[in-house]
């Protein structure tokens, strides 16, 4: 058979996006919605537990910091600050930890259906985002009830959330592709998540760290910078912004650069691996 140029639509094999953006969106949405439904309706108290996890952690920390060691006594709106950063961190931890095994967990699909492979890590981030959205409502109610007043800086909140999702997406993409080849990515990432928990102002307010250099270093971590900025924008405009803690806005170019690098490298690596993922499983 001669290889004429126009024999029809060439089949190029699997890829990250596959040139079918519509299908990518449909599939991601459908999978994320059904995942969410499963968790929501999977048990009678499904959503209750989704909500209780960060709330319980918050309760414990709140008791520890206000009653036992009184570290954050001077921090304005400490409960709201703790709850917010715990919810944001939980979103990041949940979406990335689930993304690690996501491709392998969906082995059945990968080996049996042709679809844009990027759907898989994206779904874990989207599912976690639904959760984040619901938890964020709780934060808003809690903040208003605690006396936080709406402020013009609230306009930054959606931008911060989008950047956080981008960070989670880049990380999720990279991890899900890495795990196919390297199964010890999972324990490694579990440890790194702990590092992020303590290396970002999640369970403490940034002021409790005495050394300004240490504070500046914490702001190099994109997650830390986003959490700090969220506190400044949403809860307390008098609290230092990420730029103030880092020692100048230009210093934020570093976490910003890291964020962009994570997204770019994550997508690049996933795209490179996508054609072979079905064979490597």
């Amino acid at each position: 058979m001669s290889a004429q140029p126009a024999l029809g639509r060439p089949i190029r094999g699997p890829s990250a996006l596959g040139g079918e953006f519509g299908r990518f969106v449909h599939l991601t949405r459908t999978l994320a919605v059904s995942d969410f439904k499963l968790r929501f309706f999977g048990s009678a108290l499904g959503y209750f537990w989704q909500l209780m996890r960060p709330l319980l952690l918050f309760g414990v920390l709140y008791l520890v910091f206000t009653q036992a060691i009184k570290l954050g006594a001077s921090v304005k709106f400490l409960p709201v600050v703790l709850l917010t950063s715990i919810v944001l961190y939980t979103f990041f931890a949940e979406s990335t930890a689930q993304a690690v095994t996501a491709v392998v967990d969906r082995e059945q699909l990968v080996r049996k259906i042709q679809f844009p492979r990027l759907v898989i890590p994206t779904t874990t981030v989207v599912t976690a985002s639904f959760n984040l959205g619901l938890n964020f409502l709780v934060i808003l109610i809690f903040a208003l009830a605690s006396g936080v007043e709406p402020h013009r800086s609230w306009l930054q909140v959606p931008i911060i959330l989008i950047l956080l999702m981008a960070l989670a997406f880049g990380t999720a993409t990279l991890l899900s592709a890495l795990f196919v080849r390297f199964r010890d990515v999972k324990p490694i990432w579990d440890v790194l998540l702990q590092v992020f928990l303590y290396g970002s102002p999640v369970i403490y307010a940034i002021e409790t760290i005495d050394s300004p250099e240490a504070r500046e270093i914490l702001m190099l971590n994109p997650l830390g910078a986003l959490l700090q900025q969220m506190r400044h924008a949403l809860i307390d405009p008098t609290a230092p912004s990420a730029a103030a803690v880092a020692g100048g806005w230009e210093r934020l170019l570093i976490p910003g650069g890291i964020l962009v690098a994570v997204v770019v490298v994550g997508y690049w690596y996933f795209n490179r691996e996508a054609p072979r993922i079905a064979e490597e499983l």
Binding site: A3, A6, R9, I11, H26, T30, K112, D184, E279
Partner: protein, 417 residues
């Protein structure tokens, strides 16, 4: 959909010189730690396994095309390459029209979701938009006859209901080109019949279908053409009947191998030897497949190494469970007077029989004795094997010529009539 096979119309599927290799690591390295340790070790690497080699064919619109081959021959890999699940390493695949793949029924079904959600989920997986999926929902449920169970979680479905649901989603996916892998293997007889009816309907509707199967009956019944693939290469493309026969040959005739190379067990003084043995069909052609109920023959060439008077040659036919089915010897000829042979002479021993053996594998063990049966010259247990092919399985070892009757007896006939 209007379909013609006019020459100016593009083929539905073109597979042009496609090759596919898999990397098979000598040691499975699944962790960074193993990678790091292995980098220091020499010789650790991977082998390349060629799953497909220069496969080319094209399928016309409206054609039903069967892909057959033994396990591991590369037929599923070929289907996955066409489906876009694997990337090919060489060559190119083109399709014209929408394409749907069914490697397995109900991919992505989630047991904890209701049938309604699963149908939509599965349909979107198969390439429909959410709107199309919802529009077809009623038809899917109607075809599967599961109207009363749409809100039941899938885990509470019986396996039969499960298969029905999955199959009807597949049918309603409504693609121009369907790639189907062994889905007929599931389900009971009535479901399979329904599948066949549906395939007939798809055929009438002008859909193009490529299916991978072991079921020669289905290939011969539905396919316009078929492709036989073996070790990643195309063996034959063409008439399903011919491809089916070749497949049976390949499948069963394989380990019989070359007789000359088969030394095997051997007993006796070797004063005479069975040097070659084979089966022949009714036309006198050598074969390794014997049709049930047809005349055939066992033949063996005997060479004499020393002077022999009235040697006896015999053969025992056994089945694969070592049950002796039939034996024949030269004792019946002229009271055992088979003649006198000098060293260097040879003779051909023939047993012709009506093949009454039921389908399955048979083995032939020929032997030669002389000095009135007191000395064994040569015995070659299970020297030769063949396959009895046929559809009639009675449950016995042989089908003796017989008549069957069932007659009502005596007075009872009147009483109960």
């Amino acid at each position: 959909m209007a379909v013609g096979t006019s020459p100016e119309q593009l083929p539905a599927v073109v597979v042009d010189n496609v090759s596919k290799q898999f990397r098979v690591p000598r040691e499975r390295m699944h962790t960074i730690k193993e990678r790091a340790l292995n980098a220091l070790k020499p010789g650790a690497g991977h082998d390349t396994f060629e799953a497909l080699r220069d496969v080319s064919f094209s399928v016309q619109p409206g054609e039903f095309f069967g892909i057959v081959g033994r396990n591991g021959s590369g037929k599923s890999t070929l289907l996955k390459c066409m489906a876009g699940i694997y990337r090919v390493d060489g060559g190119q695949i083109y399709v014209n029209g929408s394409l749907s793949t069914f490697i397995e029924l109900g991919v992505g079904f989630n047991p904890d979701l209701a049938a309604r959600d699963n149908v939509v989920l599965n349909a979107i997986m198969l390439g429909l938009s959410p709107r199309e999926a919802r529009d077809r929902f009623d038809r899917v449920i109607e075809f599967a006859e599961l109207e009363d169970f749409v809100d039941l979680k899938l885990k509470n479905y019986s396996s039969g209901m499960h298969v029905r649901l999955a199959f009807s989603v597949m049918i309603q996916a409504d693609a121009d080109i369907l790639l189907i892998d062994e889905v007929l293997a599931v389900g009971d007889a009535s479901f399979q019949q329904k599948c066949f009816d549906v395939f007939q309907g798809l055929k009438d509707a002008g859909k193009t279908m490529l299916f991978v199967t072991h079921d020669m009956g289905a290939v011969q019944r539905f396919c316009d053409r078929a492709l036989l693939i073996e070790s990643g290469e195309v063996k034959t493309i063409g008439d399903p009947q011919r491809v089916g026969n070749q497949y049976v040959e390949l499948n069963f005739g394989r380990d019989i191998g070359d007789q000359a190379a088969d030394e095997g067990e051997r007993y006796g003084s070797q004063g005479a030897q069975v040097v070659e043995a084979w089966f022949e069909d009714e036309h006198g052609q050598r074969t390794t497949t014997l049709p049930q109920g047809k005349p055939c023959a066992f033949r063996a060439r005997v060479e004499f190494r020393e002077h022999m008077e009235h040697p006896a040659v015999a053969v025992l036919i056994e089945n694969d469970r070592h049950h002796p089915l039939f034996a024949a010897s030269t004792d019946v000829i002229n009271n055992g007077d088979t003649g006198v042979y000098q060293a260097g002479e040879s003779a051909v021993f023939t047993v012709s029989f009506e093949n009454a053996i039921t389908p399955g594998r048979i083995y032939a063990s020929p032997w030669i004795v002389h000095r009135r049966g007191t000395e064994l010259a040569d015995r070659r247990p299970r020297m030769l094997s063949a396959l009895v092919a046929g559809a009639h399985v009675s449950g016995g070892l042989v089908d003796l010529p017989h008549d069957v009757a069932l007659e009502r007896s005596g007075a009872g006939a009147q009483v109960h009539a």
